[in-house]
Symmetry: C2
Subunit: 330 residues, 2 copies
């Protein structure tokens, strides 16, 4: 690259952290460009940093005019929002896997513990002021000790590994499921449908930390939920669409001792609405939060830093990390 | 001891675990005795195992007739319910410190994480169905990452140490307060009023794991709460009376970013009612549960086992552990 590559950055409102990029690229902020300027720039853009969701203004028609585009860096760990089907074959997409690990893993542990200790349910019961001692005794009996129990982790990437090390510190046994065979000396990692079934069957608490892709959409359906223990805990800090929500709703009705705790919600017209057509929020064995797990990481600047570091590798002509296999998404 | 000592066991309903005791003592179950039998036995009892609360039927008058009583083993870690003022000087009381450590420490971590991640509050907001996006953004900004922050532990006994090791596994810095000078290589332990103030001032989250005694009742008053950070988390898994509830209520009103999460409630006529004259349960920066933390341990049998082991030491003529200093309670 004789001259600096042209970089387009979406969502300029968190711009402060990106100052170093200008040493390696000519940086354009999408939000600063009017339609005419954007139209002129599109054929010149070499790389895009997508800080949050893929922006509506980068329509398929506009993408088709980005003939020099070779690299997209996602600010998020999940890349299911990237319009893979409209990208040329030569475009490499890197996820920000790992960048959010600390915040999301901590949040996953918070949900596992909130479910095991019935924290949300007990607080709600006390707030009604209408409980009676026998009811409290029954709820107390539902409170579970995690030490010695088994924690399952679906997706053993940056977040999954960190959840695992936290679970181990609590004295839990670990079992993981991964899409691809991989070996980690310290944990048994299972693969394929049978491996998944075994993890679900064995574990007392299961954390979903998989990317949403063609391979994982609807991965947890009624058969998988049935395979789990009746008083198991399922925590989702990945993407809602990995779990079949109709099957889940009926499972929660059928198994009052089973808990589903989620930070993630299905997309409706490209937005998470923190609600569902199924009345999950009326169930006492459901815990919900409005996709805030990564927020605490974002505030520390770590995810932005990780994304910028990886993008900088590309801009300097080095090999970027966390390259996504587009065939999992198209 | 030529013949086996006479042991009185209260609350016979969890009797199954205590079978081994009969090798070392003649065991009497309080609930099986009528008034006449109890009256005859009282002067012969050498030791008492109090599985739960001190029973109403062992009145001060009856205690005064237990002339041979030398040892009381508490089933609980806290011994503030033992009627020290009515006990003879030769009676040794052992607490069950450590027996509940795992369950209570896990519960303390669950409350720290629930508070830091706003899990209870977010679930409640979603359940109202009346939230708006800007409100969710504001709540998301309250979500805190624990790694790199400082965890304070008041009372560095069995529970405190276990909370500390969990906090360390999350990448938190540790600082402890203890009633007595003690040294643990791995953590700074402060003492006295100034030490307490320093822990409160420095830490982002503080867990109370002290026994309730003359020295700790009302230990956390308005000055101590004022010393804490405005967005700090205070978790109580010990005894409610360690915190001045009036000062706490006003502090929670004044500092909406401060969170108090408690499993323990003040006694009213010898019972915990899981409520207060102050409307804590109307506050969004309060999390409450009805004293269930130890329950999950009790179910595993560990606390009962620890209490029985210690009692057995005494019955065999060995030195029991966890002997309480009665001057802290009378």
């Amino acid at each position: 690259m004789g001259e600096k590559p042209n970089l387009l950055v979406t969502n300029s409102h968190v711009a402060g952290r990106l100052d170093n990029l200008s040493s390696h690229a000519k940086v354009y902020w999408l939000d600063d460009l009017d339609d005419k300027e954007l139209g002129r720039l599109l054929p010149l853009i070499d790389a895009v940093l997508v800080q949050m969701w893929w922006p509506d203004s980068l329509t398929p028609e506009r993408i088709s005019r980005m003939s020099r585009l070779r690299f997209i860096q996602s600010g998020w760990a999940g890349v299911n929002h990237i319009p893979f089907r409209h990208l040329g074959k030569r475009v490499i997409v890197s996820s920000n896997a790992g960048g959010f690990s600390v915040g999301v893993a901590e949040f996953a542990l918070a949900l596992v513990l909130a479910a095991a200790k019935r924290v949300v349910k007990l607080d709600r019961v006390l707030r009604t002021g209408e409980f009676y001692p026998a009811q409290v005794d029954d709820l107390a009996r539902e409170v579970v000790q995690l030490r010695g129990r088994t924690l399952g982790i679906l997706g053993y990437g940056g977040i999954g590994r960190m959840v695992g090390s936290m679970g181990r510190a609590l004295g839990m046994n670990l079992l993981a499921f991964s899409r691809r065979p991989s070996s980690q000396g310290d944990i048994q990692i299972l693969h394929g449908g049978e491996g998944l079934r075994k993890v679900l069957k064995t574990c007392d608490a299961v954390v979903i930390a998989l990317p949403l892709s063609k391979l994982t959409v609807g991965l947890i359906g009624s058969a998988e939920l049935e395979a789990m223990k009746g008083d198991a805990i399922l925590v989702n800090v990945a993407r809602a669409e990995i779990v079949d929500e109709e099957a889940l709703y009926h499972h929660l009705l059928k198994c009052p001792g089973f808990t589903y705790a989620t930070d993630v919600w299905q997309l409706k017209r490209g937005k998470e609405t923190y609600s569902s057509k199924f009345p999950f929020l009326k169930l006492s064995n459901f815990i919900g939060s409005p996709h805030v797990a990564g927020g605490s990481s974002a505030l520390t600047g770590e995810p932005g830093k990780a994304a910028v570091e990886n993008l900088t590798r590309y801009l300097k002509g080095e090999a970027p990390q966390n390259i996504v296999d587009p065939s999992e998404y198209v």
